[in-house]
């Protein structure tokens, strides 16, 4: 079927197109050049006056993996407030802070998103992440595999194994768990908590292993680079949420020796200790460091006010924060000599000084980082806020007077502690398209997604231009996924199943000579049963795998 999207105003930063009117042709799921053979168009959409972008990509959102299910089970009262009825084509479920998987897929698609990436896939529980994402319709998905608090890596580092051996282990794990990148959460800290350490600074040693977080970050960042994995090491830094952690974050940036590094939910790592409350904004210094270090990218993890739940691998910090749980219940787990998790419900309040300033810090970082290709729009769903708040966040970035109206309503002391009112920048549609599409596809290493040039998969979102950007981005007119119309007027009209994006770096098979006895002796699963096979993703007839090339490969 040949589809023609006629006359839309196209924002396709990957192709350098910034608001030009042009036609787009789609055939067999892909975007093609205008056919020259005069073939008839089977279906035409008149998009004159409408804004056309590629499908949005959420590069950091917790949509799969055990902690999400703990969060769901923990909060029945939250679900009761947002029941979702089944329709003739969609499944029932529920939403808000941690929606059920089906509802997450529908709601992402209804907002114009066509791909989502789970950033905390524990290798030992990657199956669950893939099964949950396998039940998340329409959108493509993928995951970053968590290392850095696993005993095997820390044992290797303590034993001074060479970088080559570590690279083999990293590549082996990534293949076994089927991820597209490597994530590290509070490097070594989740592990240290198991030895009863309650905090771990960048240069502090694990009480059992002879390693520091800085060494772990350097080792893993080097592995990622040397293996040719496109996505830089995805780093959830030390000291999340701790006043003064700004210094740790700057130190982390400096200490990575110029290696590519992505700092996630940087808002939670940008705090100073000034002022009466000993809590202040470090946004300016952080933004400056990002501006000056081209090897660094970041997503913000913006908080927005209201009830949510924080679900993190960082059980060391989650345990420390449990006293802020609202409602007052929380879960921490140590998991399989591999990782851990902490789930703490949170209610961010605009009249709470710390929460209000956190809100402002996130926005300051968004607005002070100059290069939209290196900063990404996230709320670290559901940690800062549910992903359904993205249209509101986009309006805050694009509309200064709206932003200042909101600023005027928050805790007065927080207003005094932020420079937000003086920042004039308003994001353009092109910049929004960069941070939510072109830049995201590039940083993840997605070939043929996130752009509208011929050859790309036809993930396309069409909006009606509206000066109220929240309204505009809440309800696209059309969303096409792989060339199929899946959303019309903000509602799902067809349910499809996206693919799972992975990379498959090479490694020396002899790494299993060390791994097999480790599994046999210490773990509870055989090495052979640990590895996820391709058919586990595809056997139900819905899922598929898409492997992306490594850097330097064709």
């Amino acid at each position: 079927m040949l589809i023609k999207l006629t006359g839309g105003t196209v924002y396709d930063p990957a192709s350098g197109i910034d608001g030009q009117q042009q036609d787009i042709y789609v055939q067999d799921g892909r975007i093609i050049d205008a056919p020259k053979d005069g073939r008839p168009v089977d279906k035409e959409y008149d998009l004159r006056g409408k804004v056309v972008m590629s499908g949005a990509i959420d590069m950091h959102t917790h949509i799969g993996g055990g902690k999400g299910n703990i969060a769901r089970t923990l909060l029945p009262e939250d679900h009761r407030q947002d029941p979702v009825h089944r329709t003739s084509i969609t499944r029932s479920g529920n939403g808000h802070a941690m929606p059920s998987t089906y509802v997450a897929g529908y709601r992402y698609a209804e907002m114009g998103y066509t791909a989502c990436f789970e950033p905390a896939v524990l290798p030992i529980n990657a199956r669950q992440a893939h099964m949950e994402m396998g039940d998340t319709p329409i959108v493509d998905k993928g995951g970053y595999v968590m290392l850095g608090s696993d005993d095997f890596l820390l044992r290797m580092m303590t034993a001074n194994k060479d970088q080559k051996a570590i690279n083999d282990y990293v590549a082996w794990t990534l293949n076994a768990a089927k991820g597209i990148g490597i994530k590290v959460v509070n490097a070594g800290g989740i592990n240290a908590f198991k030895f009863n350490q309650r905090k771990l600074d960048l240069d502090e040693k694990n009480s059992h292993y002879d390693v520091t977080p800085r060494q772990i970050l350097q080792t893993l960042a080097r592995a990622v680079k040397e293996l040719g994995i496109t996505h830089p090491l995805h780093v959830h830094g030390c000291n999340l949420g701790v006043p003064g952690n700004l210094e740790t974050t700057l130190n982390t940036i400096q200490g990575i020796d110029g290696l590519p590094m992505h700092l996630t939910h940087i808002q939670f790592h940008s705090y100073g200790t000034e002022g009466d409350f000993k809590f202040s904004s470090g946004a300016a210094q952080i933004a400056e460091a990002i501006n000056n270090n081209k090897n660094i990218t970041a997503d913000v993890g913006q908080i927005l006010f209201g009830q949510t739940v924080t679900a993190s691998g960082d059980n060391m910090r989650q345990h420390a924060n449990h006293r802020f749980a609202s409602p007052n219940k929380w879960v921490c787990m140590d998991i399989e000599c591999d990782a851990g998790c902490g789930v703490v419900p949170f209610k961010y309040k605009d009249q709470n000084f710390v929460n209000a300033l956190q809100w402002a810090i996130g926005l300051e970082i968004f607005l002070l980082v100059e290069d939209p290709w290196r900063i990404f729009l996230t709320t670290d769903h559901p940690n800062g806020a549910p992903f359904t708040s993205y249209p509101h966040l986009i309006r805050l970035l694009m509309d200064r007077s709206f932003r200042n109206d909101m600023l005027a309503t928050i805790h007065p002391e927080a207003q005094k502690m932020t420079t937000l009112a003086s920042i004039e920048r308003e994001y353009t549609l092109n910049e929004i398209a960069i941070m939510t599409r072109a830049g995201a596809a590039r940083i993840i290493g997605l070939k043929d997604r996130g752009a509208l040039s011929a050859g790309n998969w036809a993930d396309i979102t069409v909006y009606t231009e509206n000066s109220d950007r929240q309204t505009m981005f809440t309800k696209p007119d059309y969303v096409f996924k792989d060339g199929e119309l899946v959303v019309k007027d903000g509602e799902v009209v067809k349910v499809t199943w996206g693919t799972t994006h992975i990379v498959k770096p090479d490694y020396d098979l002899s790494i299993e000579k060390d791994l097999k006895p480790y599994f046999d002796k210490y773990l509870t699963m055989k090495l052979g049963n640990f590895k996820i096979s391709d058919d586990e993703i595809s056997e139900d007839g819905r899922g598929s795998l898409t492997a992306h090339p490594l850097r330097g490969a064709a």
Binding site: K194, M333, D334, I335, E336, T524
Partner: protein, 419 residues
């Protein structure tokens, strides 16, 4: 004849995956690492392979069509059992969504003791590999652990080596409440477990006393439920002194009123210890036969564990109201679909309502249900996924033989299509 090694078991709940199984046609023989739970479950011979409608042999298509017919126009069907693998549970929930059914996991009343504690105040828990490598003190509350999981001690406590213990035989085991039925808890060097027995019904009091002692409160009583306070004080001291203490309970064994409050007390003891500066973790010994699988898949599909009602077009959760046994006995339900792919002796509840049974081959009935469809067992007749009793790790089940039996997922999907 072939031998398949590293076979994971869906039966014991421990996710044991070191079994060797000899396959001869459709006959299985466990040749290594079997146990009293796993071996008979694997070796059980295939009995029926043909579906029956009202006792008469029928084709699979006729049986699924008939099942759909029975479910059509019902007002409140109940899907009970829920003993299957992840794909089976996915199909079960799809059918429930479409037919407006109540979904009720057969062991929900047991799992509820944990779920209510979790949903009220949360917990700090651990998993098997952490226990295997870190635990230096295991406090077992109200549970005969080795009867529940025969190989637990051998695999996770008396393992030859642990990463963080010099000698695993030095681990300390304490039973509070129920005494062990055998000697599995005796260490390889002959060190016997400390046992502080009490009646099940007294566990709430004993747990409350221990909680008070952990908090440092003074108790005036000399004993509680026959256990000297000094003995409980010793446990509190040991928990505080442990490197990585673990408090284990099996909710199934806590068969007394408001057992969830005792679970909550245990969870709070763990939290208090961590708050006071010691590492300690809980270990709720989850169920078997797909209990965890049912709750996990229902969790991500609906947001709630596996006792939900789809009658209003969206999932509603009530841990009491949607008890299938109650719905059947008080006349609120009007059809029963029973799913039990693991255990042919786990019969559906007795009812005069139209009944469809999708179960492991060999299930014997007093009176044949309206529709009976024998299905393959996950991990024997088809591949699949199941959750372990620590409720975190999903294991990959293998297909061991070609029996021609359909999977639960295939059968339930066919019914859904026919509906």
């Amino acid at each position: 004849m072939t031998e398949i090694t590293e076979v994971p078991s869906p039966f014991c709940g421990m996710g044991t995956d070191d079994l060797s199984i000899q396959v001869d046609g459709t006959t299985l023989k466990v040749t290594a690492n079997g146990c009293s739970v796993n071996t008979p479950a694997f070796e059980q011979a295939i009995a029926d392979t043909v579906p029956r409608i009202a006792g008469q042999a029928a084709s699979l298509e006729a049986a699924t069509t008939k099942a759909a017919e029975l479910l059509r126009n019902t007002h409140q069907p109940v899907i009970g059992g829920c003993a299957t693998d992840v794909n089976g549970m996915r199909a079960l929930l799809a059918l429930a969504d479409k037919s407006g059914a109540v979904v009720d996991n057969l062991n929900f009343n047991i799992a509820r003791r944990n779920l209510l504690a979790l949903q009220d105040s949360g917990w700090m828990n651990t998993t098997l590999a952490e226990l295997k490598n870190r635990c230096d003190l295991l406090l077992i509350v109200g549970t005969d652990l080795e009867a529940f999981a025969p190989r637990f001690f051998e695999k996770y406590l008396w393992n030859e080596e642990a990463m963080f213990l010099d000698n695993t035989a030095n681990r300390e085991i304490i039973y509070l409440g129920k005494a062990p039925s055998g000697n599995a808890s005796t260490s390889p060097t002959g060190q016997k477990a400390r046992v502080l027995p009490c009646a099940d019904a007294d566990l709430p009091d004993v747990a409350a006393a221990l909680s008070a002692l952990v908090k440092g409160h003074l108790l005036n009583a000399q004993s509680v439920a026959g256990i000297a306070i000094s003995e409980l004080q010793l446990i509190a001291d040991k928990l505080k002194a442990a490197q990585y203490g673990v408090i284990l309970w099996g909710a199934a064994a806590l068969a007394f009123d408001q057992a969830e409050l005792t679970v909550q007390t245990l969870c709070n003891i763990v939290k208090d210890l961590n708050q006071a500066g010691t590492r300690c973790s809980g270990f709720p010994l989850g169920g078997k036969e797909g209990d965890q699988t049912a709750n996990q898949v229902c969790g991500w599909t609906t947001g709630y564990p596996a006792r939900v009602n789809f009658a209003r077009g969206y999932p509603e959760y009530d841990p009491y109201l949607y008890d299938s046994q109650t719905l059947l006995s008080n006349g609120e339900a009007d059809a029963l679909l029973w799913v039990q792919a693991f255990n042919s002796s786990a019969l559906p509840p007795k009812t005069h309502l139209p009944t469809i049974v999708i179960a492991r081959s060999g299930m014997k009935f007093e009176k044949d249900p309206d529709v009976f469809i024998p299905v393959g067992t996950p991990g024997i007749d088809h591949a699949g996924h199941a959750y372990r009793l620590d409720n975190v790790v999903a294991i990959r089940l293998k297909k061991l033989r070609d029996s021609g039996l359909p999977s639960t997922a295939e059968v339930l999907s066919a019914i859904e299509q026919a509906l």
